[in-house]
Subunit: 204 residues, 2 copies
């Protein structure tokens, strides 16, 4: 018994999605076959056009529908403060939290020599150009607080600080609601290193 | 910051796949955006046509590209022995194991009153017609050995046995390579119930 080629092709496309192996791909494909035909048709049409309709901002590489994204176009945002994030998802998380009123720069990844990802695979060169030419007042490095994110932040700081742009890194420490008892050693050590004075301390 | 509607639509379609929540859907959508444009285009074209190119066999509801599937058309297969399975995936597993030379009947699900799935939601009526009209020599119930599969097998046995068709159920017991120590109680009890005589026992 052979699988119809159209189904095999669909499975091959599903297999290219991250985290989907051949078994899951078959499960998804059979689900698609069991749904009303409009579902597959509209899903397909949507996939065919998504790459033409969803662009990346020419300045910050955020999602956009024209050359610049809504944030880069927004006159109320401080164009002189740039926050560097790994992905659009990270940007969306910061926007949801309403913690930042400047603009962004999306790297679309982190440096990862083991996976062959160097600065040329990321949007690093346009960031360097932006830092050099725009007279930024601050560059905030908001890559993830993990090995690759830290390494990327270190690389970017070394590349951009010589241009006279003040470079900062988001704080590492204990997240809200956490208990010291259950925290890992690295987080505890970072929380101690990053400790801050509370109010005025009189050292007479 | 709003998400472009084309991306939101893609995420909505991805969310309808089993086991894909909103977060995973966004992850998949961003992966699709990061791949070369041909991927999304070909994937989309494939989805648009799959429902027209992949049909279900009119007799057994297996995958087919014409009215009958390759197994129902195969003159070397015994058309009088029918094996009932829950899904095409189960049929493919039996075909891979080369354990069966008859034909199949795919239910496309199991009875599940809690999820509102009764005999009318499955391919039960055509099976009853097949059993009544084709003079089958055996009907093998190969639904899964779990609560729903067992209930479905019980229901089908009760519906078809009165028509004079011999109905059998695949054996439940210990799978190859298993150790009694780690087996659950139900499997052990089924293995005891289903025990068989080994060779000739002399009861003088």
């Amino acid at each position: 018994m052979t699988i119809p080629p159209a189904l095999e092709q669909l499975v091959a496309h599903l297999c290219r999605l991250p985290g989907i192996g051949e078994k899951s791909a078959y499960r998804l494909a059979f689900h698609i076959l069991s749904e009303p035909p409009e579902y597959a048709r509209e899903f397909g049409r949507c996939l065919e056009t998504v790459r033409e309709r969803v662009l990346f901002c020419e300045r910050c590489f955020n999602l956009a529908e024209t050359t610049l994204c809504p944030i880069c176009q927004d006159p109320r945002r401080d164009q002189m403060v740039v926050c560097v994030v790994e992905s659009v998802q990270d940007l969306l998380a910061l926007e949801r939290a309403r913690v930042f009123s400047g603009v962004y720069h999306v790297l679309h990844g982190t440096l990862s020599p083991l996976r062959g990802i160097g600065p040329d695979e990321l949007r690093v060169a346009p960031l360097v150009v932006r830092a050099r030419e725009s007279g930024l007042s601050e560059l905030i490095l908001a890559t993830n607080v993990d090995v690759e994110g830290e390494a990327t932040a270190g690389y970017l700081a070394a590349a951009i600080r010589p241009m006279g742009v003040p470079v900062t890194r988001i704080a590492a420490g204990l997240p809200m609601g956490s208990e010291l008892e259950f925290m890992d050693d690295v987080t505890l050590s970072r929380a101690f290193e990053g400790r801050k004075a509370l109010g005025h301390i009189d050292r007479r």
